[in-house]
Amino acid sequence: AEVEETLKRIQAHKGVIATMVINAEGIPIRTTLDNSTTVQYAGLLHQLTTKARSTVRDIDPQNDLTFLRIRSKKHEIMIAPDKEYLLIVIQNPCE
């Protein structure tokens, strides 16, 4: 229930286009987009997060990745990684 609320709150923020929760196997647990797009994001962003995390830890083994933001021309993809799940939010940041 709290999970629901949190996700709804995030989705309600200004500029947020989509929210997704994906598990470590690439299965979308909860998403506001259609399945095929979600699965595409899942596959690609999971690899990217792993790569980013390994980069951070290579430079300093005590360090770890907490957040990943990808800003593109059209919007910003924000990824909050965890060991098992990924929370992905796509937002349009321009005022």
């Binding site: 709290e2 999970v3 996700l7 196997e25 299965i27 800003r71 924000m78």
Partner: protein, 612 residues
């Protein structure tokens, strides 16, 4: 010299005990310094010598064979569902999801991640960290960086190289014409052919390629005409269509969506009889008209929907009789879309013909003739900013002409040591143009900056450069060489951004030079009239003068020629010794030279009057 101290004792006194006594020091030998001996010394030059003890090393280079890489991608379609769940079944997947959502770990993780995410989302909404904080500062004074250009890509028709691994006789073909894709400027169509007369090896391939700059190892499309292409142009309106002129005189057109074979080829009987050196698209409502020129002396207009016969033709006969026997062979063609009825043809005989397409009778089509170069006019281009001014490239010089003065060019470069093969104006700056030479050098000229020398001279490759094309944005230039290598260079921004007063200065310069030429022309005409009047009255005297002159004239010419060569060589050695001179000085010298020229003009007139 020896210093000896002798101590004697009698033999009978040997063996007696010694009795030592002290006495003050006495000088035994005093050798004063002899300055005359100093002259025997040879002062040694102080010499730096270094000693190092290292082991001998030698350098080796290793280069691996080029690896062909291809890009592949995988598209994820469905996630990694556990084995027991069938992803197609809706209820199974829904059940799985519900199970996960009940997991405590899930709840905790999401709460934690959720707060993190919210923080960032709010941050984004609060401030746009990438906004422009300081509005466009007026571009700071462009630093006087030396003009430069760097090679960004070299396209070697590796296909030829790969083929040559199996068959070493594959001939290298010249890249005779380049054409940039009109919209994206990332694709380049290159026409390859061998222009050596009757040297076509039997296994020379006829193909021409369209290259995509992202992937310069393999051509994006291979065009397969029935005879090698000498010229190739993209249609500026429809970027899928290209027209090409073949070595055997035919015209062919391609649609890139339809593959590498030409969609239609013109029939041999009505085509040209020599290689088609120039093929350009015309501005028309249908966007399907083009015209072509060749060394057989004809200019033909075509509609590509019907290539079985030309729509119009013109014979380049300057006696205006339309006889093919008298016609001059065309080597280059020029057309400016802003002046759709006029075009210019450069011929093998060094004459530029300006023509008007809309003239009523064929003889009137040829409007004016410029006798320009000693050899074929390899390139003609109008200045995109000043359509009345055009550039012609041929023999050892490049000349700039104004349409009004027909007798001589308004500006010209000095004679180089090698032939000039191609040239074009810059699309960004009215005073910059490029030329290529047969020793593999690309020259960039900026005549507002330096008139005598190119402002940048780059050795692109060791073989002659055969063609040149500037991309529409004016920053990237492609050069094709005799062995088929296409080099792409990016020129420094100083040479492709409009300077502050450039348009005014260029206009002023062109007008001034045109005026000078007009004055000279008028002067010449007057002189000729006077000559004619005089010779009619004094015919015999003139004949006698002529008889004794030839030998003297010859000697004088020879002497002058050698003097010029000597002066040139001395100047060159001096210039090399001096090294790089400051630009400002050059610029100022150029200004002074221009002013001197102006003052020389009235002086010239005075001299001529005196002669009379």
């Amino acid at each position: 010299m020896e210093i000896i101290y002798v101590y004697t004792r009698k033999r009978s006194e040997f063996g007696r005990p010694c009795s030592f006594s002290d006495r003050p020091a006495t000088v035994n030998v005093d050798i004063p310094p002899d300055p005359s001996m100093a002259s025997n010394f040879i002062l040694r030059d102080p010499v730096d010598s270094s000693v190092q003890h290292t082991s001998d090393m030698s350098a080796h280079e290793v280069n691996t064979e080029r690896v062909e890489v291809e890009s592949h991608g995988i598209n994820h379609v469905e996630g990694g569902w556990p084995k027991d769940i069938n992803p197609q079944e809706m209820e199974q997947t829904v059940r799985f999801r519900k199970k996960v959502e009940k997991d405590e770990n899930y709840v905790n993780t999401i709460m934690h991640l959720g707060t993190l995410m919210e923080h960032c989302v709010k941050q984004n909404n609060a401030i746009n960290i990438y906004e422009e904080y300081f509005g466009e500062e007026d571009a700071a004074e462009v630093e006087d960086e030396p003009p430069s250009a760097k090679t960004i890509n070299v396209i070697r028709s590796l296909f030829d190289v790969l083929l040559s691994k199996r068959d070493p006789n594959v001939t290298k073909r010249t890249a005779t014409h380049l054409s940039w894709h009109p919209d994206t400027c990332r694709k380049l169509a290159v026409a390859y052919s061998s222009l050596e007369f009757q040297q076509n090896a039997k296994d020379m391939s006829f193909e021409s390629y369209i290259w995509d700059l992202e992937n310069s190892n393999k051509p994006e499309l291979i065009l397969k005409p029935s005879s090698p292409l000498v010229s190739l142009e993209y249609n500026p309106k429809d970027s899928h269509v290209l027209v090409g002129g073949c070595y055997n005189g035919q015209m062919a057109y391609w649609d890139t969506r339809k593959g590498g074979l030409p969609v239609e080829v013109s029939t041999v009987e009505v085509s040209h009889r020599d290689p088609v050196y120039g093929a350009i698209w015309l501005q028309s409502k249908t966007g399907t008209e083009c015209f072509s020129a060749s060394t057989d002396g004809q200019v033909l207009w075509w509609d590509i929907r019907k290539l079985s016969e030309p729509t119009e033709s013109l014979v380049l006969d300057i006696t205006r009789k339309g006889l093919l026997e008298n016609a001059l062979g065309a080597i280059s063609l020029e057309f400016e879309p802003t002046m759709p009825t006029k075009f210019m043809v450069g011929t093998e005989q060094g004459i530029i013909i300006a023509c008007n397409r809309k003239a009523k009778t064929p003889p009137e089509k040829i409007t004016s003739i410029y006798s320009s170069h000693i050899g074929p006019v390899y390139a003609l281009a109008r200045n995109p900013f000043y359509p009345k001014v055009f550039l012609s490239v041929g023999d050892w010089t490049a000349r700039i002409w104004s349409e009004e003065t027909k007798e001589s060019s308004i500006m010209w470069t000095k004679c180089h040591l090698s032939y000039l093969t191609d040239g074009c104006w810059s699309t960004a700056r009215p005073s910059v143009f490029f030329t290529t030479r047969s020793d593999g050098t690309l020259d960039i000229w900026d005549f507002l900056f330096k008139q005598n020398d190119p402002s940048l001279s780059l050795k692109v490759c060791n073989e002659p450069l055969s063609s040149l094309r500037l991309q529409d944005n004016g920053c990237v230039i492609g050069c094709g060489s005799k062995l088929g290598t296409v080099t792409l260079l990016e020129i420094s921004s100083g040479l492709c951004t409009l300077q502050r007063n450039e348009k005014n200065l260029a206009t002023a310069m062109f007008e001034r030079e045109t005026k000078r030429e007009k004055i000279l022309e008028a002067r010449h005409r007057e002189m000729r009239l006077k000559e004619r009047a005089r010779s009619e009255g004094q015919a015999t005297e003139v004949e006698e003068m002529l008889l004794e002159d030839p030998q003297e004239v010859l000697d004088r010419a020879r002497q002058e020629f050698f003097e010029v060569i000597e002066a040139e060589m001395q100047k060159r050695t001096r210039a090399e010794a001096r090294g790089l001179f400051s630009k400002i000085k050059d610029h100022m010298a150029a200004e002074v030279a221009m002013q001197e020229e102006e003052s020389q003009l009235p002086k010239d007139k005075e001299e001529e009057e005196e002669e009379e």
